[in-house]
């Protein structure tokens, strides 16, 4: 089971760089999500890996095989990969069984009966036993999705590529299929690249997330790492909601935002430097205004500007005292504050994440 290594990939469409010096290592058996907004280059990256596109610079390695470079590209059919497309790309003129069996036609050593056996077996795995003779047009969206999965897995690929495979499903089915794909990954353990723009999907499905922006990987890590310690403003805003505070470093671990002082986590700051801090709404606790807070927490005062009850949590907008900063705060359902009420806010410095510049 090989891993995949992307080394300095670049591809331009005209003057626009779709992918620019993109590098990423995928460990054998790992499922990595390429996450980013539309136009970030994630689908281009996937198509580069599949061999549908040729990089202008950089290389793609699978194990010890160099599959793509600017000068030579192994065509898709000889890459031992499989791909699941956003549109599923099921052939409408073939039955479910013919669709699934197609890739096995190119395994020379396999007998006809062996092929049939594997197709039946794989359709059982995706819970489509008995649908062999149907045409794709006769299936629901979820069933088509499962056929596409079966068609990709039955060939036992070294690498599995998925291009937003769940974006055409409705919300309930999408959630169900996330777990399904994760289950299949744990069963087959195929090295997988998964393209999505849906952060929740990436978090549920993947071992590791690579966040893409402007054709580059801006941060990669586990869901915890990406959510808890975003490295740039873009990552902090793209993954989950957050409060961003632009300020100036006052001491190595304090920033000033207007008249506010905020102790922050992370590396030592250079006093005077411009700094952006991300604070997740969930990391802020609401209480009574306190006059003498302890030394280890950030304690602020504010006034409730708006309250929204969201069912499993309550969402507040709090206007901070002596400042024009408005913070979003999410609290468990419990004691409810009213609009206009004066409140105290406490924030653990460890939850105040300083961000690097990303030009955004």
């Amino acid at each position: 089971m090989p891993g995949v290594s992307l080394r300095g990939l670049t591809l331009k469409y005209g003057d626009l760089a779709a992918v620019e010096s993109l590098s990423l290592e995928i460990q054998p058996g790992e499922l990595v999500a390429l996450l980013g907004p539309s136009g970030c280059g994630k689908t281009t990256t996937l198509r580069l890996v599949a061999g549908f596109l040729t990089p202008e610079a950089g290389e793609i390695w699978v194990g010890d095989r160099c599959l793509s470079s600017a000068t030579s590209v192994v065509p898709p059919e000889r890459r031992r990969m499989a791909m699941i497309f956003q549109s599923y790309a099921l052939w409408p003129h073939m039955t479910v069984a013919q669709n699934v069996a197609y890739g096995l036609r190119f395994k020379a050593a396999m007998s006809r009966s062996e092929r049939a056996r594997r197709v039946t077996e794989m359709l059982q795995v995706v819970q489509l036993g008995g649908y062999e003779a149907r045409y794709p047009g006769e299936l629901s969206g979820g069933q088509q999705q499962r056929v596409a999965v079966a068609r990709a897995l039955v060939v036992e690929p070294e690498i599995l590529l998925l291009d937003e495979p769940l974006s055409n499903l409705d919300a309930n089915l999408r959630e169900e299929m996330r777990f399904e794909i994760r289950r299949l990954h744990e069963a087959f353990n195929i090295t997988t690249l998964y393209v999505t723009h849906d952060q929740a999907e990436a978090m549920v499905i993947s071992d590791r997330i690579a966040v893409l922006e402007h054709g580059q990987v801006v941060q990669s890590g586990t869901a915890d790492e990406i959510f808890g310690r975003p490295r740039t403003r873009f990552v902090a805003e793209f993954i989950g909601r957050t409060n961003l505070l632009d300020g100036v470093a006052a001491t190595p671990d304090t920033i000033a935002v207007g008249r506010l002082r905020l102790r922050v986590a992370g590396e030592a700051l250079t006093p005077g430097a411009r700094v952006t801090v991300s604070v997740r709404p969930h990391a802020i606790a609401l209480g009574e205004p306190v006059d003498h807070p302890g030394p280890d927490v950030n304690a602020l005062r504010g006034k409730v500007k708006r309250v929204s009850f969201l069912g499993d949590s309550v969402d507040y907008e709090i206007a901070l005292a002596d400042s024009d900063v408005v913070l979003r705060v999410a609290t468990p359902v419990g004691q409810r504050r009213k609009v206009g009420e004066a409140v105290g806010l406490t924030i653990d410095p460890a939850a105040c994440i300083t961000l690097g510049a990303d030009g955004a």
Binding site: T54, P75, A82, S87, W91, V155
Partner: protein, 559 residues
Amino acid sequence: MGVSSGFDRSALVWVGAALALVLLMALPLGWLASLSVSGEQGVTLDHYRAVFSDVALRKAVWNTLVLAFWVGLGSVALGAPLAWLTARTDVPGRGVIRSLVLASFVTPPFLGAFAWVMLAGPNAGLLNRVWRGVTGAEDALVNIFSMPGLIFVVTIYTFPYVYIMIANTLALIASDLEEAASILGAGRLAVALTVTLPMVLPALVSGFILAVLQALALFGSPAILSLPAGFHTITTQIWSFFHFPPKTEMAAAFSIPLLLATALLLLVQKRLLGRRGYAAIGGKGGQRRAIALGPWRWPAFAACLGVMACAIFLPYGILAKAALSRAWAQPLTADNFTLANFSFTFFEYSATRDAIVNTLELGVATATIGAGLVALLSYVTSRRLVRGHQFVGFLALTPVVIPGVVLAVALFIAYTRPPLVLYGTLTILFIAYLTKEMPTGYAQSDATFRAIPPELEDAGRILGAGRLRVLRDVTAPLARSGIIAAWCFIFIGVIRELSASIILFTPSTKVMSVVIFDLKEEGQFGAIAVLGLVMLALTFATVAIVQAVLGRDVLGVRE
């Protein structure tokens, strides 16, 4: 654009495309332009001067403009209401009316003109004889050999162009767009004037231009109706330049302005259509509810049938009658009934027999090679297999601006001289037909390939199939019906072609349309009728094939 190792492939396609371009268009049109300005002492504008200072020729231009304008207007007047009635109201027999419009669309206009000679010729015309019989009048009721007669006959076979444009546009406008206006207080008339009309206006103008273009380029109907009436149009005038002694320079000088006018009009039409998109905004899922005509249902139906009687029932009826009669002008009694016209046409008269064979040969050859060519071109362009693929597509669509007569003049000039002397062969007709039908075939084929998502091919590639294998397993089965349709469109276009054939034929390379034209000089109406029916039968059989393979209406496909 990230095309892998595409250079050799590009080179091959480009050499082929360039060669085809030179042979089909650049060489002929180049010669056309060059001959139009060549004099004994080099470049001259004498031919243009001669053409436009000649009063008779200026009259031909004027006649053409009059014809084109009124045909455009008439086509809108017939096509738009018919489209609205069938697309948006509860008029009875909508399916029948639609089929009849399609029949009018595929009827060769010159056949219609012949039929109308038999119907409304001033002396022997059926309608005029009935009129005299009923009223005892001396004079004819109508004379088809006149400008109004010509306009009428051309219009009844041209209005389907407007019909298609309007019907397709109306189909895109969801009723809720109109209801949105109603709920805000607009009455029926206000809705029609402020919402519906502005949305179909581009299609209306564009349909008008299409109809004008048809009338400009038409040869058959003017030749049949205007020459006996003693006037020329541009196309018949160009044709007469080829009467002995041929004046090809004059023909060339007369062709160039027609070509430019056509190109200009098409450009305007394309601009208009390019802005048509807004009609579809918000059309998703919108329903179209039929407007109740109430007491006007049956009168509206009768009006539709009236139009169709002029375009289909009467002409087809008189053709059938003439085919089965000894004397076409006499009532079809037992004495007058005969099958001699059929045996004469098929077995006794060599000219008609040969023409049928030539037409079928050319039809099959052009359709087969043409369908193969457009399939290749549109696959290459839709899959962006070569650099500059947009340009390939553009080239394939360019011949649409060349009227048949002009194309024929250009081919005549280019291929009556070395290095390629093709005049007098079927090959020159083949080249003319291929060029003329390329845009239709390409548009159909291109739509076919664009409807096949590239991912379907990618999915095969990644599972282990090479490009050719995917072409065989995935693309070909999915494109098959669309390519068959392209074949049929080209075939229909070829078997009815007259305006280029009339200049390029020689006695050994006559085709059906030309023979029909010749037989008229000899007064052989029975044989004409038989040939016409054969042509119609071939056309409708081919249309039926298209409808079967595409599983939908031909009218919806053309635009």
